[in-house]
């Protein structure tokens, strides 16, 4: 995986982002975080349950003409703690980073507590603090541990 030539052959896109080592089955949630549903016309390739030395099986997502922001990269860590993000320009990997768990995620998740004020029609973004094994709504205190991908605000 450290061989950039091999990485390049795997990720034949000119410009965009290759997200590798996604937890198996989370690829579609990763696309949801990016707000990509195919309507944008950008090229998207998804490999699901690809054999991986490190993870057993993994998902891989390649998105053309789109570079992930740091906030997007960070929130990936909640769905796919092992993910690596390669930013590609002119077929070259110009930036390669491992995701890190953020201290908080803002505007990306909706609170599963239907009675939470963030689910009313108020002019605020949701905000979740990241706790040991999940995230926690900063408004109502609700904790989300499993299936964080189900609560993406960008569906």
């Amino acid at each position: 995986m450290s061989d950039p030539e091999r990485e390049l052959r795997v990720s034949k896109i000119r410009d965009g982002t290759v997200i590798d080592h996604i937890t198996g089955g989370q690829a579609l949630n990763v696309l949801a975080i990016l707000g990509i549903d195919g309507d944008e016309g950008v090229g998207v390739s998804i490999g699901m349950n690809v054999p991986s030395d490190k993870l057993g099986t993994k998902d891989v997502v390649k998105v053309e003409d789109r570079e992930l922001s740091q906030g997007e990269v960070d929130v990936l860590s909640l769905l796919a703690p092992e993910a690596t993000v390669n930013i590609v320009r002119e077929f070259e990997v110009v930036d390669k980073k491992r995701v890190e768990r953020p201290a908080r995620v803002v505007g990306l998740l909706t609170c599963p507590n239907h009675n939470c004020i963030t689910n009313a029609d108020e002019p605020v973004e949701s905000a979740f603090g990241v706790v040991d094994d999940g995230v926690r709504c900063e408004f109502c205190g609700e904790i989300v541990r499993e299936d964080i991908g189900d609560h993406l605000a960008v569906h």
Binding site: N113, N115, C116, I117, T118, N119, A120, D121, E122, P123, V124, V131, R136, C137, E138, F139, C140, G141, E142, I143
Partner: protein, 316 residues
């Protein structure tokens, strides 16, 4: 330590709590102690769900401080009914008043409000979330009756939706308290609250039967199990009786047990308990005024400013 808002009991340290309770005791003994520092101070009472008791208690406290209140009125009669957001409502009210007391049916409402205004916001109950001013008067009552250290406290009833319970349990982590939570399985403490309690190193146990712990308790804090929480009346009837106490129940308790309740009660404490030494719930309700006076004294800047000696008592 200074807080601009009182949003949840979790923000209160032991020092904060003791400062408010000490100040409340002073004001209880000498209601004129604040002089006319609040003569030009207006407190807005914004109650998005009905609560005569809490609202009157804040209203009385502010007036006893020499200040005044403006009341949003009922939701039915306000622009909220026309679909105005909470954020807009509080920004408008901020222009009228020096502080906002907010009761709202949604969890997190007070926190949201606090992000839109510069005046202090007091959470007077947000859905099933928190009710920290109630907790301060609960602690005041507990301190008068039993002290606040080395306590064994039983908290019984609707622990899932009971905001007074969530705030009280959180505040008790500042003290040397053993907590026993007694509820039907379906109304256990929410995991967010459990998370905080464990995080604070609280000693707690959960029970479905009061009998298991009654004999150990110094304080029994009873809350109402709301019938409307149960999808099925039969389910409600099955559990309701288990969480009602009367004078006979309390024969198994310690002689100096203190029974508390945030009121209103329905049938969870039988009237025959009222005349026993155990009952503290009416005194508890009365304590709301001096405690809220002390709280407001700490959060609001009296216009007679400059005399720190008089203004240093609250949860600032």
């Amino acid at each position: 330590m200074r807080h601009d808002h009182l949003l949840s009991a979790g923000q209160l340290t032991r020092e904060d709590i003791e400062a408010v309770l000490d100040r409340a005791a002073e004001l209880d003994a000498d209601p004129g102690a604040v002089g006319d520092r609040y003569a030009d101070t207006l407190l807005a009472l914004c109650f998005f769900e009905p609560s005569t008791r809490t609202k009157m208690s804040f209203d009385t406290a502010m007036k006893r401080l020499g200040g005044d209140t403006v009341d949003m009125g009922t939701v039915e009669s306000s622009s909220v009914k026309k679909g105005e957001s909470l954020a807009d409502t509080v920004r408008v009210i901020e222009g009228y008043a020096d502080g906002i007391v907010l009761r709202h049916p949604s969890e997190g409402a007070a926190k949201l409000a606090s992000q839109f205004v510069d005046v202090p916001v007091v959470n007077a109950g947000d859905g099933a979330g928190q009710h920290p001013s109630q907790t301060l008067l609960d602690l005041y009552t507990m301190r008068e009756r039993a002290g606040l250290d080395d306590l064994t406290v039983g908290i019984m009833g609707d622990l899932k939706y009971g905001r007074t319970v969530h705030s009280l349990a959180s505040a008790l982590t500042n003290f040397d308290a053993r907590m026993h939570f007694v509820s039907p399985e379906s109304l256990r403490l929410p995991r967010g609250v459990q998370f905080d309690l464990h995080d604070a190193g609280a000693r707690l146990r959960e029970h479905t039967d009061l009998d298991e712990v009654l004999g150990e308790l110094d304080v029994l804090y009873v809350t109402r199990i709301q019938r409307e929480r149960f999808p099925d009346e039969n389910e409600y009837q099955k559990v309701a009786g288990q969480y009602q106490i009367d004078a006979a129940t309390l024969e198994a308790a310690k002689d100096d047990l203190t029974v508390m309740h945030p009121l209103p009660r329905v049938d969870e404490i039988a009237p025959d308990v009222d005349t026993t030494e155990y009952a503290a719930y009416f005194a508890q309700a009365h304590n709301g005024v001096p405690v809220r006076m002390a709280l407001l004294d700490g959060l609001l800047d009296g216009n007679g400013a400059g005399d720190d000696a008089a203004g240093d008592g609250g949860a600032r």
